[in-house]
Symmetry: C2
Subunit: 437 residues, 2 copies
């Protein structure tokens, strides 16, 4: 006998959780398509060369990589960004710009499974490729706001900055290792202000470290942060102008309460070149960013001589679901459980039971038939376990009389009904939160 | 530069096809949940021991198998049946019987890519585990019929048989290698009647080969096939009784035109022990079965001492989509393309454009904003490529006058509208297939 188990860092989704995951995905998809973003899909398995082309050592260590039957060096995708870059380079001729896509799919990383991290997890990316414009930057931020709001989130803040502003500031300071400085600043939430100061001092000196820390100081009002940035890079800085314009439009659209300007946001990856953003939940600050992204100006560089800019964001669906669970929001999402159980009194009435069930389904009621004659108590107990609110009972007497007994399993009440419309009515009442007695 | 390409047998899904795939999946999910089937998910990667426990050499050769960073012998799932068996054995204590689940996910087989087969493809499985009852067998057949009908399929036939009937017939014939005979019969559609006769004669003798071929003869009326089976195994055969009962209820439910009794259906796998079925499209007989399955009585035997019976079916989504494409049915499925393009006349009106777009979305209209000021012709041409039917034009004059110009891109007409309700109205008319001039 083989012990039934899954690999460490992998997990099964039982019906309730999987149904809620699907409902969340569907809500996100509705938001994306409402903004003109359309879905794509790419293979789980790709040439390792394609997936690892640009990555450093850390990524490579985490990637599931092997040789296939044909001797090809292949790997499981570890994010949806690299496959998207490959996709854009490969299909350029079939597509058009601006190109808006979303992609919700599993990715794989053999990383440390501590702290609730999984080795198989869902990413949910959306990007607009084409113009390097304020409108495109803004749009991604609007989608982030709308996506979280659509899931019932209210207390979140999207932290916004522009990598170019900080880079220009570092150039003015004549910092010798700006890329390392950006990576260090990116860790401020993880390692804290003092650790960052130490590292920055090593990378440059105490004085510069202090000035950088002043520049990125969090917690101030957006306008104050923008003035501080202006002092640092000058009023004519084009990156700062972009950031200010985005901030102004967010205000005009009445959405300022969901956003802030936070110069400490840099995103560690060299990939980003323009606006950058992360999203934190007010009630769960320690869970980290649930939606992050930014603008990049060299999407397809590895695979094509063409230059292509874009802006996008990624929602960590597993982290978001963990947050929703902790906030008690997950249970409010419906599970698509059936609404009526047609009880099996005698198996000779099989056709009758399945006929009634089909008629209820045709009226939009999710209905299942208990698949064999068992004690009523056993069938009711099954319905309760599965969260089915109503049982429909048709024995010899009811069928002869053209009637049914409708049992409300939560209220433990039962009444005789004569037509399916009454059943549909009871189900619809319950959907609206009105439990008829 | 790295050449952008995917592995042989793998493919990208561009927006139109992916949106249609999602729409098909959603339709199937609605059917499954309407019957009380709930979704589950399992990992793409599992212990090789778990996935390959019962499989023979053919499967093993096709499986993507490798050693992970932790030295574990792992593999990509090659179907959804084996992971389901592992899932049921592992989660028995958390679940209840009857357990109905569906699972729509990618599976991987490194097989020959000729004949339109992919190495990564989507399976769509649904099963009811628990009672070995007529009702459960019937239910799976009803779902198959409903699933295909919901996708707009009309001309299909679900071929139904019972493995136990053929097995009992072979026992009466005293055939020495019944398992091999079943496998041979299973190939009749691929290799033809004469090849089957040859192999059967080798496995037993000419006379028995003839009698088996008579028994499985296709093309007859269901009632005739049932009588022939009765002659072969006797009127009191319990397997035949099950098959007759199912056939009778299908008739009572008025669905006989979608089904037939076909004794040549055996399903090659030893796994099946009861009813078995395959589905053929009348207009594309050569494409093979688009939905197959059957009853099995030892689901979890590899992982548990418990015995568990079930019945289920699997839709090959890639094959089904290929069939729908060939039948011209794919293009009728909507792609979720945006309905209105807010044209960008001047970038200083950014907040206005995004505000109008947000208001349209709030009214249920999928709306995107062109992300930069470009020539009108270029923006219209983009809208046409993406299939966006309307463009909303707001320049300085329109904004000053509180108006908008609504352009119907297909009709090439343009008119001034004063409120968003007029835009919503035009979009809704178009959805209903009424193109206002």
């Amino acid at each position: 006998m083989i012990q039934p188990r899954v690999l460490k860092g992998f997990r099964d989704f039982l019906p309730d959780l999987e149904a809620r995951k699907k409902s969340i995905v569907r809500t996100l998809e509705e938001v994306f398509t409402s903004f003109g973003y359309l879905p794509i899909d790419t293979p789980v398995l790709e040439y390792a060369e394609i997936l690892l082309g640009k990555s450093g050592g850390e990524t490579e260590k985490q990637v599931y990589r092997f040789t296939d039957h044909g001797g090809r060096d292949v790997a499981l995708r570890f994010d949806l960004t690299v496959p998207f870059a490959r996709f854009m380079a490969q299909h350029m001729a079939e597509l058009y710009l601006p190109f808006r896509r979303y992609h919700i799919a599993k990715v794989f990383r053999g990383e440390n499974t501590q702290r609730g991290r999984y080795r198989e997890f869902m990413q949910c990316d959306f990007d607009i490729v084409g113009p390097d414009s304020t409108s495109a930057d803004l749009e991604v931020l609007l989608i982030m706001q709308k996506a979280l709001a659509s899931l019932g989130m209210e207390r979140f803040t999207i932290h916004l900055s522009h990598r170019g502003v900080l880079q220009d500031f570092l150039a003015r300071l004549e910092v010798s290792e700006p890329v390392e400085v950006l990576r260090t600043v990116d860790k401020i939430r993880k390692i804290g202000r003092e650790k960052v100061r130490e590292t920055l001092a090593q990378l440059s000196d105490e004085e510069r470290a202090g000035r950088i820390l002043d520049f990125i100081a969090p917690g101030s009002e957006p306008e104050e942060a923008l003035s501080r940035m202006e002092e640092g890079v000058g009023a004519d800085n084009p990156h700062l102008a972009r950031l200010k314009e985005i901030w102004a439009v967010i205000g005009e659209l009445g959405l300022a309460r969901f956003f802030t300007i936070d110069p400490s946001i840099t995103r560690g990856l060299d990939y980003y070149t323009g606006v950058v953003f992360e999203t934190f939940l007010s009630d769960l600050p320690d869970i980290g960013s649930v939606c992050s992204g930014g603008r990049y100006d060299n999407l397809v560089g590895l695979y094509s001589a063409q230059s292509m800019s874009g802006v996008g964001a990624s929602i960590g669906l597993d982290r978001l679901m963990a947050a929703m669970q902790e906030l008690g929001m997950l249970e409010a999402i419906p599970t698509m459980a059936p609404e009526v159980l047609v009880v099996c009194m005698e198996e000779r009435f099989l056709a009758h039971y399945h006929g009634v069930a089909a008629a209820l389904r045709a009226r939009g009621v999710r209905t299942e038939v208990y698949p064999q004659a068992r004690k009523l108590g056993q069938q009711f107990s099954y319905a309760e376990k599965k969260g089915i609110p109503f049982a429909l009972i048709m024995g010899e007497d009811e069928i002869a009389a053209g009637a049914m007994a409708l049992k409300d399993l939560a209220a433990r009440t039962q009444r005789v009904v004569r037509g399916l419309e009454e059943v549909v009515h009871a189900v619809e009442h319950r959907r609206e939160g009105v439990h008829p007695s």
